[in-house]
Amino acid sequence: MISFHEVVKKNEGAILSAWIEEMVKGVRRADLMTDTELKQQARELLGLFAKAAESSSEAESEAFLQTREFLREIAKSRMDQGFTPTETARFVLSLKQPIFHALRDALKGNPSDLVNEVWASGNLLDRLALFTVDSAVEFRDQVIGRQQEEMLELSTPVVKLWDGVLALPLIGTLDSARTQVVMESLLSAIVETNSQIAIIDITGVPTVDTLVAQHLIKTITAARLMGADCFLSGIRPAIAQTIVHLGIDLVDVQTKAKLSDAFAMALSRMGKVVVARKPAAGMALGSKAKDN
């Protein structure tokens, strides 16, 4: 009885060219990768596959370790290049047809063997394709995880507006994990910079519900316990009406519509005044000279 790996081994060249032809017709994305790259990957994969199939027909076995490693690499590079997982899987699955054709020619007189070998090789390729998809999804999950961590860090910068005045511009959804980070970074910044006033700006927070409000009130109370005054700014008209209807009590909190208003209030609270400078004759001339 002839096994499919013998057929693959014997017809490797023919299968490879039929496979590449198949891919160029349908699966390949000419916009994402070059012909040479595709051919090289196909040749290498088929070589590994033929070699591994000699000793095993289980995709999870030791014999296919190298093949799996290679598919992992391919999945990663395909994801980076912008392929979908389906397109990545079809790279493996499109190998079926050329192999089945070769089997048909080799086992013409023996339909029962033909079915067996088609089933065995098909099964193997299915599993390898699934493995490729799994790898691709895994890489995507890694990217998502990394981005989530980055967002957690990025979204809570405490900035110093003036000596003794801090601002915390909040952006996005305030779920409990992030609120904890926000609260901690603000409180430690108050200590580090010895600030008397902290402005929490919620211009970038799309929804203020009772949970968000509670987090804000807690943060403001904690800041106050540390001796800093907390102002809340960036309250849009729609948010203001919603807060009123919800019945949230922000009477004890100093609020302003805009960050600039809150900053002006902070400066006046600290006894600072912003005045327009009277242009001195010499300076005006100087700047004119620069313009020319």
Binding site: T173, D175, S176, P206, T207, V208, D209, T210, L211, A213, Q214, P237, A238, I239, Q241, T242, H245, L246, G247, I248
Partner: protein
């Protein structure tokens, strides 16, 4: 009568975010004013969190409803949780069993035009809200 509807699961904190996004996009589609959008989204956020925290998860159905010439959005939150023994008490401002502000349920009632709550102890809770354009 409902022209179309969608059901979204509420099983984790990420689903609450999803519910808000869905509510916002439906409100935008109906061209609700910015204030009404915000009210509906905030009420959805409160009720979705109730479904998650008190009802141990459930679903939200969103549908566009019509009443004569008026059109609106109806959100129905359903869970199979422990239920609410005393609805009148639960709807009181400041009443909380979870350490929150106690304004979620009562507040969201004030944010919408129609508010309907049914609850059976041991069976679950259904809250339906409608915001008309």
């Amino acid at each position: 009568m409902a022209s179309r509807s969608e059901v979204h699961p509420i099983a984790g904190a990420a689903d609450v975010v999803k519910v808000r996004q869905v509510a916002r996009s439906w409100a935008l589609e109906l061209k609700l004013s910015l204030v009404d959008q915000t009210k509906l989204v905030t009420a959805a956020s409160e009720l979705a969190r109730n479904t998650l925290d008190h009802g141990h998860g459930g679903t939200m159905r969103v549908e566009q409803v019509e009443n004569g010439l008026r059109r609106g959005i109806k959100l129905t939150f359903e869970d199979k949780g422990p239920g609410i023994p005393d609805i009148a008490m639960a709807l009181r401002d400041g009443y909380t069993t979870s350490g929150g502000l106690g304004l979620g349920l009562s507040g969201s009632r004030r944010l919408v035009n129609e508010f309907d709550i049914k609850s059976e102890v041991g069976r679950g809770t259904i809250v339906a809200i409608t915001r008309w354009k």
